[in-house]
Symmetry: C2
Subunit: 168 residues, 2 copies
Amino acid sequence: MTTQPQTGHDDGSAPRSRPRGAAFLLSQVGAHAATRFAERIGGLGVAPSDVGLLRMIATRPGRSQQSLAEELGVVPSRVVALVDGLERKGLVERRRNPQDRRNYALHLAAEGERVMAGMRDLASAHEDEICAALDDTQRAQLTELLEAIAAQQGLTAGVHPGYRHLPQ
Amino acid sequence: MTTQPQTGHDDGSAPRSRPRGAAFLLSQVGAHAATRFAERIGGLGVAPSDVGLLRMIATRPGRSQQSLAEELGVVPSRVVALVDGLERKGLVERRRNPQDRRNYALHLAAEGERVMAGMRDLASAHEDEICAALDDTQRAQLTELLEAIAAQQGLTAGVHPGYRHLPQ
DNA sequence: TATTGTTATACTCTATAACTATA
DNA sequence: TATAGTTATAGAGTATAACAATA
């Protein structure tokens, strides 16, 4: 994804009184953070698109594919492909529900638990890398500002919009 | 692009003393900002991938496709496709250089100038929309923090990493 | 009939590699 | 030989629509 050029401070001048370029910087730095994270988790053998799914299954085991599709804002057939991949890697299991044999209850396999643990460590290191320029106070400040924007813009906590389908 | 889930404040609790989740928030809010901007510029008939190109040509007219490819971090054949699209829409012109007939000098067409002007207005409105939750002081604060991160992470001012090719 | 999941298909994006023309 | 640009091709990602099994 890409965003607009801004008049910015390409010339190295100090920021103006009315700040400009925050939106572009957000998109730029955000894309960078996502790319770096993707590189890191690549070492665990999972793709960025897998991460949300894994976490949602870990948080609420037994969920159906439909419920994941809804929360992620993707089409159910997409979840089929994602779960196929995770199942092939031995990270999740599809368990039939005897009460209603139409849907599956999704659970993490043992290997999936290990990958989730690895991701938590990795997320912590990632956080430190991205925020290396900031001290603890500034980090808290940034988090607060971003949380305010996220809330006002109606973003769901923990759900990355990368999943959403623009084309209707 | 997608990033990691964070332990976050899904439960609505107050932020902890050691801030967690800034990197995920960055990626989440950044992707949202990029998506909203893409929706806006869609009305001008250009795609997000066109924007950087248009701006770079506007900033330094007469550039070659090669130089654009290098600065954007994409392969030259990709620039061919992008410039083809912009030329077809009447936004840019390829002018032969009589001194060296191998390369083109790229220039904005009249319609391209109009679109650039439209984008500047639109970027301003976009900025206001994304930062609606913040007052001017907070906006300046956010910009400062993001600029510090961008500089420390080695990001090029005004160049969106969405252009970069991870697959080598 | 409605719901869950699946398959078949097509479209977009973008890189690689081979090629043309010019130098 | 080297450089700017182009074409042909292939792979990844993801949506739409038709379908099967179950309720």
